[in-house]
Assembly symmetry: none
Homo-oligomer: 245 residues x 2
């Protein structure tokens, strides 16, 4: 199941961190690494720090955009050492790992996003997230190394996988709750449709559209529509579209 | 309580690992670092990798023997990525952290031992241990980086300390996320507005409206809009309403 979890490093500056992250993942049984616009990759320093996990580097998917990297994933989680004031559900790494197992066990795919070394994920990047994973750093020193954050998440994923293998009687019930997860690309095209209808209805005439679009994304991400529910929303948009002048 | 936990690095070869370990500890609120016969210390590379955790390096106790480093500690735990065939109680990192909290809460002091990068702790070193902490690496790739092992243990110590203090750092924030809860009547009038707009757009012409209305309610209930978010939705509905014939 761990192979369905996609660790996505966004805009990583130091290639050594990419190697160390691959090593951290492999020790815990994870294999799917994606890199969005890495500063330097492939790179000898990454391979050196991978220390035997070079297969993960060879198979790593390098993407030009974050959307491309997570297109097929149904549960998108961001990581953050600081607590952000965004209306996205917060969870700790342990809760997140349990949630990931549910998703994976019911046929979904998970993406866990790790931001740039210096600043972490931007608010714009976090718009795609169904949840934010808060790492429990102390208040006055939250400077967690990127590979260390990857290590903690990978460790919790493995613990959750080992737990799940010990047959949880609730597992099948929980799984039924996520029957038809929606991959990121479907949500992205729903947002496109939504925004084009709203533009035609004059919604963006008064409010700056970036702010409003971000708010709406965060709201609908929280809704987490299933496949048939997304069809309903699309149907409604089409209806409205036809009636608009 | 975390200051009573002594992380002991035995015979560390690479000074960079000492720095990275100090950083990993400090992010999680640990401060007591001991070094038994480090190959190179102090060292610029250690300071660089500590990345702001140099205070832990300055205060680190350098010892000539392991016995000296753990002299005052009452609970000695060793770490190991492989399962050793030694008659020492095995535990995972989570169980170990709970055990450490017990010890510390009852006035004891804890030492956690980390062996050389290449081979880990020797059997001779492990003889001092009351328990062995097994890190859950996969069978064919147990090559956990030293600082990564320190990070996992430090993380579990912090989680156990937070549990013990019953102070979840996210609790107050989670509450803040629900600052503007929406009373049922507000949601009810939103639904009325939504359904009247959808009716005018012809959405209920094809689908029986009770089914569709129920589905939409379940979806928007999951979204759990805040007060200002509900205002946004109402504003959008008004916009569309004006444009409909």
């Amino acid at each position: 199941m761990l192979e369905k979890i996609n660790f996505v490093l966004v805009g990583t500056t130091h290639p050594g961190n990419i190697g160390a992250a691959a090593r951290a993942m492999k020790t815990m049984g994870l294999s799917q690494l994606s890199l969005v616009q890495p500063t330097a990759f492939p790179c000898a320093e990454a391979t050196a720090r991978a220390s035997g996990a070079d297969d993960l580097l060879t198979q790593a998917r390098v993407a030009q955009t974050l959307d491309e990297a997570i297109a097929k994933d149904t549960l998108i989680l961001g990581t953050s050492a600081r607590v952000r004031n965004l209306p996205v559900p917060l969870m700790n790494a342990r809760e997140a790992a349990a949630r990931m197992m549910q998703t994976v066990n019911s046929g979904g795919r998970v993406a866990v996003l790790f931001g740039k070394e210096r600043y972490g994920l931007t608010n714009e990047e976090m718009e795609r997230c169904h949840g934010l994973i808060n790492l429990p750093t102390v208040e006055n020193f939250s400077s967690l190394n990127l590979a260390a954050a990857v290590q903690v998440l990978a460790y919790e994923c493995r613990m959750a996988a080992l737990d799940a293998a010990n047959e949880n009687p609730l597992a099948s019930f929980k799984a039924a709750q996520e029957l038809e997860p929606v991959p990121h690309e479907k949500m992205a095209s729903f947002y496109q449709h939504l925004f084009s209808v709203l533009a035609r209805a004059g919604v963006f005439d008064r409010i700056p559209d970036t702010t409003l679009k971000r708010r709406l994304k965060l709201m609908f991400n929280r809704m987490r529509p299933q496949k048939h529910e997304l069809d309903i929303l699309r149907g409604i948009l089409s209806n409205i579209e036809k009636k608009l002048p």
